[in-house]
């Protein structure tokens, strides 16, 4: 509706808004007495913590030196990281082959970045992920194109962490969806099985499952049959993650209005068609943000595989610290790890938040 200009209407500028730093401070930090108090207390606390930390981390620190040089300084000995970076990041991967895990990680990163745009979510992408992961696996394992075979027990460090979490996620996803469908099922036996599974797994700590996979699993198998250690941990992570995904997906399924099922039924679609074509595409989209949340915890939780002596980044760091030369600098090493984890997780979580917003404003 195009309104004719109202003759009586005179637009006034808004009353002068206070601008400048002082006004900003007043508006944002000192707008009431308790806010002022909070501000002052917070600033005091920051003043107490930040300068000494800054001095330790940046002023009195050494960044790339021998371990002996670090003995004489007050500050941080960051040298532990560059001096051991190959082992911390790549672990046992044979010398001369380092490009392979690095390339695999870059590939993964590229895939993640490519998947960022919502507009690129289509069938192609759905295929790119498994194919990409297979390529990564091949790169790591080798055996073709003249790449020497690198057994899984030499996979370690960051690639192991990434593999355990991403493979874990990709494999756990379909399992989780099946479990969620099972839990929604009208068949009591199926439903009970799924509920029991989900609640059992969610009820116990991941480390007890890892214990299981490492100590007890060999006992489950017939004599002489062994299964790769990494694979066992991977299976434990998949089983664990699947239970969590199942619960998230169930939330999505429950959010689907009954009308969608009815419309699909009245078109004559079968149960599997209804799920595949109508319900899951919508339900899974709704739950993308919490799913990313699970990926995040899976990523953080892989650090628990130290408990069964797999060499993820945390374990490689710990081993580095076992070396008497470096034992004293665990704080620095752990800070490095914390930053590493933080960067990865923060990237994922801020992405998931953006996604949540985008999906929210969409229909």
């Amino acid at each position: 509706m195009n309104q004719p200009e109202n003759p009586t209407r005179e637009y006034l500028a808004a009353p002068v808004k206070k601008v400048g730093a002082a006004a900003w401070l007043k508006d944002n930090l000192f707008n009431s007495w308790y806010n002022s108090l909070l501000t002052v207390l917070t600033l005091l606390a920051l003043g107490y913590i930040v300068p000494p930390f800054f001095k330790w981390a940046f002023i009195d620190s050494l960044w790339n030196s021998s371990a002996d040089a670090c003995r004489d300084i007050e500050g941080a000995c960051w040298s532990i990281v560059p001096q051991n970076i190959k082992f911390i990041i790549l672990g046992f991967f044979p010398e001369g082959q380092e490009w392979r895990p690095i390339l695999a990680m870059i590939l993964l990163l590229a895939l993640v970045i490519y998947s960022k745009e919502k507009s690129r979510w289509n069938k192609l992408l759905a295929w790119m992920w498994p194919v990409g992961l297979i390529i990564m696996g091949t790169l790591m394992y080798g055996g073709i194109f003249g790449m020497p075979v690198v057994e899984t027990d030499q996979w370690s460090g960051l690639p192991l962490t990434m593999m355990l979490s991403f493979f874990g996620m990709v494999m756990a996803y379909p399992l989780g969806v099946l479990l969620a469908l099972g839990r929604q099922s009208k068949m009591p036996a199926i439903k009970t099985l799924c509920v029991v599974y989900i609640e059992m797994i969610r009820g116990v700590p991941l480390i007890s499952l890892l214990f299981m996979s490492s100590i007890m699993f060999p006992l489950f198998l017939p004599d002489g049959m062994t299964i790769d250690k990494v694979l066992r941990a991977q299976v434990a992570i998949i089983l664990f993650t699947a239970a969590y995904i199942a619960e998230v997906v169930r939330g999505g399924l429950q959010a689907m209005p009954r009308g969608q099922y009815e419309a699909a039924d009245s078109l004559g679609l079968t149960y599997s068609q209804t799920m595949r074509l109508i319900i899951l595409p919508q339900a899974l989209k709704i739950v993308i943000p919490p799913t990313v949340g699970i990926l995040l915890s899976a990523f953080k939780d892989t650090s628990l595989v130290v408990i069964i002596a797999l060499y993820d980044v945390l374990k490689t760091t710990k081993v580095t610290l076992q070396n008497p030369q470096w034992t004293g600098y665990s704080t620095e090493a752990y800070v490095f790890l914390a930053v590493l984890y933080f960067i990865c997780c923060y990237a994922m979580s801020s992405y998931s938040r953006r996604l949540e917003k985008e999906l929210h404003t969409g229909h």
Partner: protein, 316 residues
């Protein structure tokens, strides 16, 4: 035997190692495995394949190690495991010749003024959860009518830091570890290891029941290391020693044939072991000896001729 055949078929030995004990079994900053236990496994590979590098390592936790051996995941366990009766019988393992005599001890800061473990009543004790460390410590305090406050932390480096920060009055662990821990102290001379050893910890490699031939090979490989030291054969002089007129040395190095055949190995097996890994003395000095960060004395691990316990039977 079946285990030996399987190993030969694979072309390498799968060895279970600790993975986190400096000087015994741990990867260095390049990811290469180093340590006394690692060298033991390498010696076995040298004996069987003539190539010490034909080993793959599986790092194991204390809980995993015996199951891993039983289930066939590994062929050989060289993970500072204490030889005990129940393990040999109930767990179905055979321990071979001991490659390190250890014992549980205590270390205290000198300024506490404690001279004997018997003076530790009421102390806070940092304990590394080994398999029996906690039990040994508790037993010792109980027999001496003392009270203890344990602080049990899983990782050596964390535990060491905790101890140096003064969280505990005393730290207990195998003596070999204590020496290493002291070495990394901000000021090693501030700490001293108390004289008492409260337990016997003969650390030995182990194999499964059921393949005596493989057991013999591993056993005699360890003994060969000791024997070589007794005979004065080192990796440097082993080639010259081949020309030695001493019949004992000739037999040992396979110049005079017989030993190899008896074990089902190449006659050059001992030569390969010494050439590629060195004798026990070399292995010890290289990994844990006084010139390493651990700085351990030979002590009980010296040859019997030097007052230690290392003693090899005749190789004939």
């Amino acid at each position: 035997g079946k285990d030996l055949d399987a190993v030969k078929k694979k072309g390498y030995i799968q060895a279970g190692v600790n993975g986190g004990v400096f000087g015994f079994g741990m990867p260095d900053e390049k990811g290469v495995w180093k340590g006394l236990d690692v060298d033991t496994a390498r010696a076995v590979a040298a004996a069987i394949f003539g190539d010490a590098d034909k080993v793959k390592y599986t790092p194991l936790t204390a809980q995993q190690r015996f199951t891993a051996l039983q289930s066939g995941e590994i062929d050989l366990l060289t993970r500072n495991a204490t030889r005990t009766l129940s393990r040999e019988t109930q767990l179905g393992l055979n321990f071979v010749q001991v490659n390190y005599y250890d014992g549980q001890g205590f270390m205290v800061p000198k300024n506490l003024g404690v001279k004997s473990a018997k003076e530790l009543d009421g102390a806070t004790v940092c304990v590394l959860p080994g398999t029996t460390t906690e039990q040994n410590a508790a037993d010792f305090f109980r027999t001496n009518n003392m009270k203890m406050n344990p602080v049990v932390i899983e990782s050596t480096s964390e535990l060491a830091k905790t101890f140096f920060a003064g969280r505990c009055d005393v730290i207990t662990s195998d003596a070999s570890q204590l020496a290493g821990t002291r070495a990394i102290a901000p000021k090693p001379s501030d700490y001293e290891i108390l004289p008492e050893l409260i337990s016997k910890e003969p650390l030995a490699p182990a194999v499964r029941h059921g393949d005596d031939q493989f057991f013999d090979i591993v056993n005699f490989t360890v003994l060969a290391l000791i024997n070589a030291e007794e005979l004065g054969i080192t990796s440097k002089n082993v080639d010259e020693m081949l020309k030695s007129k001493n019949p004992v040395i000739q037999r040992f190095l396979g110049v005079t044939e017989g030993n190899g055949k008896a074990l089902g190995l190449d006659e050059k097996w001992a030569y390969n072991v010494i050439k590629q890994v060195g004798n026990y003395g070399e292995v010890f000095e290289r990994n844990v000896g006084v010139n390493t960060k651990l700085g351990l004395e030979r002590g009980l691990n010296a040859l019997w001729t030097d007052g230690g316990l290392m003693y090899a039977p005749p190789f004939k």
